[in-house]
């Protein structure tokens, strides 16, 4: 077994037994880290693999969350059915955006702006949509928080932790196999040089749309998780561009296009930011905005001095791969 595999197995084992030693707060932080590791991985498929910069991923989280949430809210239909509606809607949206963008030859900065525009448009739209509660938000009824009810996705925080751990692990495995497959090769070729990729027989349009579709589908699942974990949804918050930025911070800080980048980045960011918040609270400096300034500074430092993210440097030190 390669060193990388061993390290991964150890990490998984550690995460699996972590709740036994963790208090409620630590568990919630870990859940958040894994959530960002998962969404980061989903975003990474589009950006790290296929090279398309999306700054509007909050769109898929939001639509996914509202889709499953609204179905539950209005019809009492559980999350497992709502999940498919969420995925379908988000894939349709992603394919629409991808199709429009790539058909019209939009890339780079303009593509990023397009994704932002769609997310913002939807945010304001949902603010005026009474069926989902408008700006006042939508609140999902929580039946119970004691026993594990996977069918209805209700239970103690521990259940949510293991679900997101499973999701993040599955995402990792999926991306691992994707990277080594035809899809992985083709996406990376497109990322590196689209013209050359075309000359080698790759229908870059189709493959780019596929990357967007997969990324949006994966993110939709995160949205459903979000809906049933937090149980309150506000357009202002869930579609906000800050959410989109949070999603990409992990992969960019951890390492774009790598497998471990998103996880490492999410961990570093969440743990450090929590640490800073604790420190500031201890010092009596509990001011809104400090945590975000910290985020900004970390991002600035990483982008300036570690352009490939933290993971490649760490991997070199530990002599791991991926």
């Amino acid at each position: 077994m390669s060193r990388g595999r061993v390290a991964l197995a150890l990490l998984f084992a550690a995460l699996a037994v972590f709740p036994a030693f963790a208090g409620a707060y630590a568990l919630s932080v870990a859940t958040l880290v894994l959530y960002f590791a998962y969404t980061g991985q989903a975003w990474n498929v589009m950006m790290g693999f296929a090279g398309q910069l999306s700054l509007g991923h909050s769109l898929y989280v939001g639509v996914g969350a509202y889709a499953a949430g609204a179905i539950f809210f209005h019809y009492g239909i559980g999350p497992w059915a709502g999940l498919w509606v969420a995925i379908l809607l988000c894939v349709a949206l992603g394919v629409l955006i991808g199709f429009l963008a790539f058909r019209f030859g939009i890339s780079g900065v303009y593509f990023a702006l397009l994704t932002i525009a769609f997310a913002e448009f939807t945010r304001i739209g949902f603010d005026h949509l009474d069926w989902v509660g408008g700006p006042g938000g939508m609140f999902l009824r929580v039946a119970q928080r004691d026993t594990w009810d996977i069918a209805n996705f209700r239970g103690p925080p521990l259940m949510y932790y293991y679900v997101i751990l499973a999701l993040a692990s599955l995402a990792l495995v999926l991306c691992h196999f994707l990277l080594k497959s035809r899809a992985g090769y083709y996406w990376q070729a497109i990322r590196e040089n689209e013209e050359a990729a075309q000359a080698l027989g790759i229908n870059t349009f189709r493959w780019k749309v596929c990357a967007v579709a997969l990324s949006s589908a994966m993110t939709a699942v995160a949205g459903v998780f979000f809906a049933f974990y937090y149980n309150n949804l506000f357009p202002e918050q869930i579609f906000n561009i800050s959410r989109s930025i949070e999603i990409i911070l992990g992969p960019i800080i951890g390492g774009l296009g790598t497998l471990f980048g998103p996880i490492l980045g999410a961990a570093v960011l969440t743990l450090l930011s929590d640490g800073i918040t604790e420190l500031l609270a201890a010092l009596g400096w509990e001011i809104p905005g400090v945590k975000q300034v910290f985020y900004g500074v970390v991002l600035l430092v990483v982008v300036m001095f570690l352009p490939h993210g933290i993971w490649p440097a760490v991997a070199r030190k530990l002599k791991l791969d991926a």
């Binding site: 939009i106 303009y110 525009a117 769609f118 304001i124 774009l256 905005g289 975000q292 300034v293 352009p307």
Partner: protein
Amino acid sequence: MAPELVLNVVVAGVLTGLVYGLMALGLSVIFGVVRVVNFAHGEMMTVAMYAAAALFAAFSLDPFLAVLPVAAAFFLLGYALQAGIINPFITRPEHSQFMLLVAVAIILVNALLIVFGPDARNVQVGYQLESYELGKLLIDKARVFAAGLAVAAALLLFSFFRFTLTGKAIRACADNYLGARVVGLDVKHLYALTFGLGSACVAVAGCALVLLVDVTPGLGPYYTLLAFVIVIVGGLGSMGGALLGGVLIGVSEAVAGLLIAPSAKSMFSFGLLILVLLLRPQGLLGKRA
């Protein structure tokens, strides 16, 4: 709907739009020359607005007078930002540059939050309550002054680029980076100069806008996106386009706010951005990339 009401709203939109146009002009200049996507543009504008508000609170300085020190300060800061932080990034991939400025934007917004708190700030001067009467039209004096300042600044900038040697040098850099270097232009200095000028534009626009709008830290991202909408709709690289785009957006927002709901007006702007990106990415007056 009374035609006078619509006309008043449209005129107000045009005037506000001119101020937006100046802000977008700063972005167009930066993006057009340095090719950096200034994701902190709106945040910079918000800082300028706070600066004007703070100067007013401290010294009762009218924003029109505050323009000079604020613009000068922003010029220097913009120059320093480009020279110090952004210049090394020119050769880096796009998403790196993007993230750099996103980081700056995050820091700016939240620094404002920390220093000034979340409550709205504004400026209260006498002429904000007065208006000009042109037949059935009632135009706010403050709006006219603000628009006038914006147009004056835009003309100044335009003359600089058209008639001065430095201005021409900057345009040369925009057209051909390598060629400019071969000819001996100090491109890094010119880039920094451009960023400084773009920042000064933003500063003037901020001082003008604070007369019309209350400022909160959260306005930053909103104005950034607005600036991009305007620049893309009006056309990248076209100064006239930035002003025209600004007016268009100003009017459409005003009218949309009147017809639909005030909170939905930005939806129109984003819809317009999507359409323009897809159908005519060079904008109304811009050149093909």
